[in-house]
Each structure stands twice: as structure tokens, then as C-alpha cells.
Symmetry: C2
Subunit: 352 residues, 2 copies
Amino acid sequence: MEIGSLDTPVATVDLDAVERNIARMQGYCDEHGLAFRPHIKTHKLPAVAHMQVRAGAVGITCQKLGEAEVMEAAGLRDILLSFPLVGAAKAERLAALAGEATVSVVGDSEHVARGLSDALAQAGAGVDFLVECDTGFGRTGVQSPEAAAELAELADGLPGLRFAGLMTYPTLPESGPWLRAAREAIEARGLRVERVSAGGTPTHLINHLVGEVTEVRAGTYVYGDRSCIANGSVPLEDCALRIRATVVSRPTPDRAILDSGSKTLTNDPAEEASGGGHGLIVEYPEARIYTLSEEHGHVDVSACSPRPDVGEVVTIVPNHACGCTNMHDEVVVHRAGHVVGTWAVAARGKLR
Amino acid sequence: MEIGSLDTPVATVDLDAVERNIARMQGYCDEHGLAFRPHIKTHKLPAVAHMQVRAGAVGITCQKLGEAEVMEAAGLRDILLSFPLVGAAKAERLAALAGEATVSVVGDSEHVARGLSDALAQAGAGVDFLVECDTGFGRTGVQSPEAAAELAELADGLPGLRFAGLMTYPTLPESGPWLRAAREAIEARGLRVERVSAGGTPTHLINHLVGEVTEVRAGTYVYGDRSCIANGSVPLEDCALRIRATVVSRPTPDRAILDSGSKTLTNDPAEEASGGGHGLIVEYPEARIYTLSEEHGHVDVSACSPRPDVGEVVTIVPNHACGCTNMHDEVVVHRAGHVVGTWAVAARGKLR
């Protein structure tokens, strides 16, 4: 079966492109002696996680505990949870997971460290603890190297937790000096920083330049998307996740309506350099998806020659692969257009 | 069990508020002699669709064929598909559906009408056909009353289709004159306009004023959301769908991070009058969810006194209920905080 015969809208994944992306990122990390720990938030597919590990990844990264549970059940044995786990329910689930796989966690507060420790100690389980550091992005993370050292010492003294190192997102030029200062402050307290995990697809090529980083995390690189094209991290031909959509209406000469709206593509924006809009139509690069209803894509085709007809199927590279794939219960996997299989997006919707 | 003991993030639905919203909208339609055909795109729950029909709705509206199949299987017997169906695969599925339930469809092109007719005729099935009219919104729909009359005549002559009337979205003040001109042009061709279906929650109160409308469609009204509060269609206390989220980090005095990002809330914008941001935090109305990562909600709490602590659970009214509920595989249904059940969002992800 060819992807051309699939009904739309449908999410397709080009497995050859996925393999190229995996090889390129793993090659970069291998070349620079960096461990690679891909983030599965993008694909949410156990089969792709196994491909990443077979290619040389030391393990995987998950954002939510529910994603980690799906991946562990599918045989992934080394998992970093890069999102702070809060609350007794999650701490108990973490303790159970830590009994099945090698698990590391992150935290930026005493609250998180103590909550996890209580449940782990009760279950007789243990995990490695990385202190999350805000090295410039302004999201989660302790705000100073000294605060990192304080939390490292506290966590290392709690039952069930073993301080293992530092984590930040994304890798920025200023991350290196920040992380060095934190490492020195931690070493001054007699602890060792075994591991410094940093991440993000857009800036992944600076991980070996900023210093201190020992482990790279990246997710979006595996599929690529319109933002990746704009920031240069993945070329169009390696954008593996695409949405096949049908023109369902041509109400005016300048307007085409697709069967793919925000419930298929998401309203996630692309990086500014993409020029706005809601995705790239490969066959009509001059077209502009200027707005999305829930199920309608509104396209300005005034710059196109020729222009698409009702019934025509087009291919969309989404703005943001991680958001887009999360809308789909399954993806159709292909090589050069030949369908290889239909894979359940097994970790989709695992919000807790 | 109380919703206060649920782990987060979790989508909760206040069934008392749902009933108030259903009663209010049905009451408006009954008062003005309008048929009501709620759009299930918002809730995607068979149980709520049955509540709407029991309250007096003539049937339901679905956007995608896959939604309609889920609803038909759950016992809903009268379904309008308000999205143009294109392609042989969907036409065949429509024919099968039409053998099980009373189905009406919309279209704005000869392409759509002929494609459906071919499959329906082959299956010996029939559906009512409504001509979709662009009465001012600028999405799908024929562009003039004369074009509506031409398509009506064409469709009525095709096997398997019976011209039944007109459909537009949303109801606008200018919709009335437009639809009257279309009806007159159609009657001049010897056809009857039995039904004029118009819709949209924000402008629903003008359906009896614009003229011509016989059937009202609305979806969002059943849950309400931040946009509904802003446009006055649903008050805060009747906003039934809420996300319970936990503060997982307080990295700075002014910043709180929630465990709910774009994969929980969506990046759907709210109406401008809402003041921007990504949702209303009920307990901290001065807080502003200023950006979303996939799993992090970034909140400016500088205007709050007191400010939320790590571990605290807050309640979010999302910008857009229809997008938000679509992220969740299930919703926890409650009355006054007492959990009534956990309902699968059965028509979620039915994109085709």
C-alpha cells in the first residue's frame, strides 16, 4: 500500500528520514564524546525509542511519568524524567517504576526532593537525582550555582535519592559558565557531579562547545518540523512527520480549505523565521495556512500557480512536530511512500 | 471521592453546570420555536449527547465522520455532518452510516455532491443535503445566493441526495438577508427550503432575530470557557470543563510553573477581551499564564497576594473548551466536587 491511497487527514512518518535524523544526532554526540539521551515526547512511540537506543543512546528522556511507564513496559530500561514530580501519587508510581528500570529524576526544590524521598524510602527503592538549573531560559530550575549546591547536598542526604549531577534546558552559550560554577560549588561540599544533562534540538550543536555538558537530550530532531527548518537543525527532506490533508472546499479563487485544522495540526506557532502561519504545504510552498478552525485549515493560495483543486491531497510539514504528533492516536509509517505499518502513539495523552 | 484528591493534570466536568447550560440553550431555542442540534465537537461524549437529546434537541451535529460513527454506535439516531465529505473512502462510510441513522450532510461544491451521490446510489442509501453558505465568515460555503440555488438544484437531482435546505456558520446579522435571498432563488427553481441551520455559541442569541433560521447549532455553550466568559455567552460559574493543575516549581518570587502546558490546555487563543494568556486560574485571577511549553504552564504571579506554593493545586478555565477537551482521553465527571465517574472522550482523535 502507498501513502497516496490513505484517507486524510493522516499523520505519516518517513522511517528513512527518522533513521537519518537518528544517525546524524548520534554521530554528533559520538564525535564529541557526549552521551545521548533522546526525548521521547516528540514521537511517543516505543519502536522509535528502541531504534534510538540501538543506535547508541544511553537511555531515554520522558517528560511525564505516564510516558515513562509506557516506555518501561515496552522494554526501555534507562529513563530520565526531566519534569519535576510533585505529590504522593506520583512519588509512589515513581517508586514502583524504579523497581523495574534504572530511573533518574530532576528537581529544583526541597519540596520535590523530600516528597520523592519519602515514597522511595518507604518502598525501598532508589533513583539518581539531578538538580535542575535555570541557566538562562527562565522556566524551571534553581536560580544560582549556590542554590544548586545547596539542593544537591540536601538531596544526597535523603533516603532513596542519590545526587548524580545537573540538568538544564535548553543548552545556551551561558549554560557552560553557570554549570561550571555549580559544579565547583558542589565539589566544594565534597560531592561529585557525575553527569551534566543539557538539551534541545535547536541549539544541540553547541553542547560540546559550552563546556561541562556530558549528556545531550533532544526530541524534535527525530521528526523535524517547520521550526527546525527555520533554525537550521533539520532540512526539509529529513522532516519525517507530515500530515496528508485534502482540499475540501475552494470557495473563492484565493482561498482553499483543508480538512486539517487545530485538532490535527495544533495552534502551536513556528519559529519566527518561518514567516508565520500554521504549516508548510510542500506541493504549494507559496500557499499560506493563515488560520485554523478546529477541523478546517484556511489557506491563501493567491500566490500559487497552478492552484489546488477540491479533492486534491497535499502534504503539510507542521510547525511543531511534538505538538502535532500528540493529536494523533496513530501514525502511518512508510519508506519512500510504501506503508510499513500503522503504529499506535502509545505514550500520547499520558499527562500525569 | 472528591475531585480535590485527584492527581493532576486532570480534566474535570461539572455535570450540574452542564445541565444548566443545556437547559439554558434549549430554553432559548424552545422559546423562539427553533430546532436545536448541539455540536458534539466540544464534549465528544456520548453520555452528554444523550443528555442534550433528552432535553429536547432534534439530533446532534458532528464535524468529522469518525465522530458521527462513534455517536451512532452509542445510540444517537439523527446526525448532521457539518463538514464537507470528500473522497470515495468517506462517501462509502457515509453510505453505511446512512443505513443505520438519519443523516444529513453539507456541501458547497458540485465535487462534494457528486462524490457522495455516487457512493450513496451504489449502496441504495440516501441523505438530506444542505447547501453550505458563506454568509460573511469567509471559511467554507458558496459565495452567493444564486450559487446556493444552483447547487441546490444540482444536488436534488442526484441519486442518494435530497435537497433539504441551507447551512451557515456562524450566525451573523447579515446572515438573514443572505439566506432569504438564497431561499427565494431556490423557491424560484421550484424547490422547498425545509431547514435553515445556523450556529455558533458566541452569537446564538441572534438566531431568532436575523430571520430565516430554523435550526440552531452550538457546541461550546455546553462547557463554556474563557472565550465564552469574554463574549458573555457563559458565565464563569457555568464553565463546566476545568483543568486541575499543580504548581511544580516556584523558581522566582514572580514565577510559578504548572504541570499543564500546551499538551494539556492547547495553544488555542482566547477572545481578545479575555486579555491574552492561556487560561484563567480561578483561585488566582490576577495570575497570568503568559506562555506554555508542552508540559509546563509559565505563570506570572507578581500581581497575586498571597502567591501559590509548590504542591498547591489550582483550577484553570481553559481559553477554548473544544480544543482542551480534545487533548484528554478521559474526563472526570463530578457534582459539587463529588466524583460521579470517569468518562472516555470517545470521539476524541476521530480526525477522519
